[in-house]
Symmetry: C2
Subunit: 143 residues, 2 copies
DNA sequence: GTTGTTATTGATATTCATTATCAGTATAAT
DNA sequence: ATTATACTGATAATGAATATCAATAACAAC
């Protein structure tokens, strides 16, 4: 599910930074928001190219970074693989079960774990800002 | 604390794979086991160079990978930073609180979280093999 | 101890994702 | 319309990780 105002958040961010509106940005944010999550720059570039051939890889990359900067995307880095991006707007925080065989992502959330993490930080005088929990293994189809 | 047989595990692994003993390997495993954890290849290379100038960066890199292969080291990958290695021998599994300012690592462990992760995987028909929990924020000195 | 096989080393080159550069173009304010 | 400057897209640069390769060292066999 994508919130209807995600695009407006992006356009607002662009304007607030004194940046400019371009049809490339429009194409990229649209493609990103309507695509399935966990995409690499390369994958989004392929999608965008189908809509507007000639658009540059660097442009997709730069704008994906802007989308991340304004909080509309989270980065997922697995080992040495290409960075993946997933939309955050209209979605709640979640962690991932990542299949080592088929590379699928299963999204999970557990309030108890989240709370225990808070306590763990507190017990160490640590101010938690964000966290990453990734469980690697084999999914239902691959085990 | 380093278990006294970590080096023997390494030498056994080398022999079992039909590889050869060299003074470079000896120097590298010694330096790795006696150094503080969470080191990059570069950092271990600097330490090893002080003991034996002329040793190659590639040699340190290759052997650190062998040390990881035989289970004596874990990899830590944070964002785009260089991969870090930490000794595992004689140490139990732990997760990390990572300070975004001073880059320090606080090692933590919580059995409840570990168990909840198992359950989370099970509830999704997922076979968990390993996991990574990293909490990013500000440590006691930096907050 | 000598020999022969082959793993290892260290210097260097390559790979690959990501980021930077830059000239030409597009945007948007005036 | 003019003007300042952000943006694009092609390409170069960067940097960590890995591969290559000739010279060397390990070590098993004799
Ligand atoms: Mn996700
Ligand atoms: Mn640690
Ligand atoms: Zn799978
Ligand atoms: Zn700190």
């Amino acid at each position: 599910m994508i919130t209807p105002n995600a695009k407006e958040i992006f356009r607002g961010y662009i304007k607030a930074k004194g940046l400019r509106h371009t049809w490339q940005r429009d194409t990229i944010i649209d493609a990103f928001l309507s695509a399935a999550g966990h995409l690499t720059v390369e994958e989004l570039f392929q999608i965008v190219t189908r809509i507007h051939p000639g658009i540059g890889y660097a442009t997709v990359h730069r704008n994906l970074n802007l989308i991340r900067e304004c909080g509309l995307a989270d980065e997922i880095k697995i080992g040495n693989e290409k960075t993946r991006f997933e939309p955050t707007c209209g979605r709640t925080h979640h962690d991932h079960l990542i299949c080592l065989k088929c590379k699928c992502f299963i999204e999970v959330n557990n309030n108890q774990i989240e709370q225990l993490q808070e306590r763990l930080a507190e017990a160490n005088d640590f101010l938690p800002l964000r966290h990453k929990l990734e469980i690697y293994g084999l999914c239902k189809n691959c085990r």
